[in-house]
Each structure stands twice: as C-alpha cells, then as structure tokens.
Symmetry: C2
Subunit: 266 residues, 2 copies
Amino acid sequence: MKILDETSELGVVERRFDLDVAGEAVPGIHWVPAGATGPHPTVLVGHGGTQHKRVPNVLALARRLVRHLGVGVVALDAPEHGDRITDPDAARALLERLAARRREAGRGLPPMDPERMRAMQKRVPKHLAEWRALIDDLQTDERYAAGPFGWWGVSMGTHHGLPLIVEEPRITAAVLGLAGQRLVEGDRSGRLAGQVTIPILFLFQWDDELMSRQSGLDLWDALGTRDKTMHINPGGHVEMPGFEYRASEEFFGRHLLAATPEPAQA
Amino acid sequence: MKILDETSELGVVERRFDLDVAGEAVPGIHWVPAGATGPHPTVLVGHGGTQHKRVPNVLALARRLVRHLGVGVVALDAPEHGDRITDPDAARALLERLAARRREAGRGLPPMDPERMRAMQKRVPKHLAEWRALIDDLQTDERYAAGPFGWWGVSMGTHHGLPLIVEEPRITAAVLGLAGQRLVEGDRSGRLAGQVTIPILFLFQWDDELMSRQSGLDLWDALGTRDKTMHINPGGHVEMPGFEYRASEEFFGRHLLAATPEPAQA
C-alpha cells in the first residue's frame, strides 16, 4: 500500500493510497481514528454503480464508523469507476444516457440495461482479488492484522460483497442490500446466498425500480445464516433513509466490537 | 392516578398505581428517571397476550428507555391479564392448554384458537378507553402534559395499539409488530392501517407460527404513513432478538427527543 496523501479532520485521519494488484495501481482510501495505536477492526466499504470511493454516502459512513466505533474503514474504486475510468468519454456518455432514461421514466431509475449488467458481472472476479489483496496488505500491519473485518456494500456493493464474503473467511459480519435474487451474479445468487454463514444486515427499498419486492425477499430468505435481519423502507433505489447508516453502525458495533450483552428475548 | 407503592433502583423510579376508569381500578406502573423535574416524553407499553404489565421484556424495555433516553414509561394490565384476572382457575387452565398444545406442535406456538381471538377482540374498545384515560391523567401533571407520547406493543400490543394510534392524535410514533393483516381487528385491519399517519417501526418474525409471512408484509404495506420501517428476523413468535429493543430505543430517540440530523440519503 503506497500512501499518496494524508489529511486529518475532526478526529479522522484520511489516507489516499494506491495498492499494487497484478501490476495495476488500485486507488483507495483508508480512514482511521486519529491517534489510534492499538489493534482495531476494519470495515471494507464497496460503493454503488457509477459511484466511487469517496462519494458523500461512503465518506459520511466512514467518518461515522471511525468516530463512533473507533474502527478503521477502507474503500477502493471498483474497476471502471472513480479514478479507474479508462474511457472518460464513454463514462460521461453512460451517465448522460442514465440521466436521459431517468427523465423518461418520470421518477426513479430506469431498469438496468442487460449490457451494463453483463459488464458489471465480468468485473466481479477481478475486484474480488483486489479486496482480498487489500486485506492481505492490511494484515502486514499489526494494528489491523487480527481484524475482525466487516463489509458494507449495497446495490453494486452487494454484487461484489456477496461473493466476497462467501470466498473470504476473514470477513465476519456484513451489511448488504438494494439487491435481489437473480440480479446478483445472475443464476449464481441463490447458491451464493445459501453459503453465507456470517451475521447479515440486509437493507431493502420497497419501491426499488431495479428489482421486484419478491426478488429482494427471496435473496434475504436464501441467506444461509440464522443471524440475519432485513430492514425494509418505502421509496426507490436511491431513497434509502439516512437512519439506516445509524443502524449499520449499531450492527458493526454489535458484531465487530466486544459486545454488551442484550436483554433476554421477548 | 393513585400511587400504591414507589421504589427506586439504578436511576429508575418505579411507581405502582391504580387508575380509576368507569369505576374500575386499572393497575399500572409508571417508570420515570430518578430526580427528573422538567417535562419529558412518555412511552406507553402494551404487553402481549397472557402477559402482564411487569413481564421481563416490558420491565427491561422500560428501564432501558428511562435510563438511555430519559423518558417516562407506563404499562397497564390489559383486561383479564395480570392483576385483572377475574377467574384465576380459568387463566391457569388456559396457560396449561396453551402449553399442552405447544408441546403437541413440537416447536413454537400453536395457532390462535378462534374463541380466544374473539375474546381478545371484544376487550379492545374497553382497553382503548383505559389508555386514553391514562393519557388524560398524565396530562394533569405539567411534567408529562406536553408529551410527546409514543406507543410500543407487539402481538396483542399491536391489536390494542393499532386502533389506539388511529383514534388518539396525542401518540406521535409507534413500534408495532408480530401481527398480520386480518389478524388485527378481523377485517378492520386494512382500513385501520391505512389511517396511520405517524412514524412506525414494525417488528416481524419470518417463521411466526401465528400468521403467514404475507399477512405481516400486507399489514406493513397497508400502513398509510410514508415513514415506516419493517425489521424482519428469522424465528418464531416468541423468538424476537434482543437487539430489536435497542432498535426500538433508537426509533423513540429519533422521534420523541429533539433529533440529531442524520446524514444525507444514499
């Protein structure tokens, strides 16, 4: 991990880094509590489609987790996102096409175009290798070596996160969501979900334009773990309420930090 | 409100009271922060069927809300529950019958028997009048007069709570759950739910023996408010995870106390 820049603001150190994976420099950010010296957990955050490692919701989540839980947070640009866009004209054209289709649709997002879907699926194995290389790298530092590691990623962040948590035993709790059966990894979604054994918080929007209610319920239902909670809110794909970030913080606090026992069951 | 007894433990004052409603003494408990002098919100807690005003989950929730949020909490015995059981032999026989049917069912609760269901429905209007009289009484004290008032009640607590929050504008946020369309107030449930306009947290168990998944989703879907969240966990009717009490605390903190603004939407 090559640190390119370091700033500090209100108790949060932000380090811009490049990670060399198979000869390619993968750009990322590492947020850590200012002055932290001892070991602490790390949450990996996977951004959504057309987003990047430092969009407002990722940045706000990172700062919240660092300040409130004292954990570290890392984010990477996914292939063909953020600083890794190889064809800026094509990326701009895609955003314009999405905006135009959105205007046509009246409200909310248009359905995913199959070609974009296939391109996204093709990038999954490459990005998984990058996340695993990042965990390897973090573990060379004794502060992060022992983990535990968490995952937070909805929408495209679940397309990457679901196969990652199945392949990667070092991740012990994950927030997923804004995804449905059949949409994640095509026909592999059910099989993948069944292999999940770690605690999951699954965030879902009841009026998501990109998938049916049933496909979201099916994906949550298929998760192989008993420790799973689904939060459903009204509204479209990009209308998830801000308080679900607080719920995510509570979830990681419970699973990544030494937990305070909860009262007995109802 | 006639105070019969007052104790104090770890910052929580507990007052056992009787409230006179239409000539009947309705037994209740009022928990308040020790030493609190200024105005503060009150959460009304409706217990479940066969339970009473001081079962462990009600007591733990009350202490949690008083200690962590500084609000007051009140609970009443529902008609024919707790200290209001008029035929102790019949009550004991019911519990034994339920236990026997539960053993037969192998795991979890047996389906609700239609006669018990009708008896429960018949008691609803009476208990609603008692809750409204309790709010009237609380408002004669300037510390509680301004509210706001919240409701927490799942299972039978929702059978009472859903019609109460529709009739009672002084309740401004509610936690409901472990209930389904058609089970609440018979055929009135959909119509009642549609009239709900306050923020709702709806807690549901995916393997509830007393109702179908679809009936729970339908009831949540029918709620007329835009500010509603459904939390779904695996497990049966009495297996709701303890962390949902923490989620309830977070919900009341957000809606009954002056709220800290949440970060922008995703």
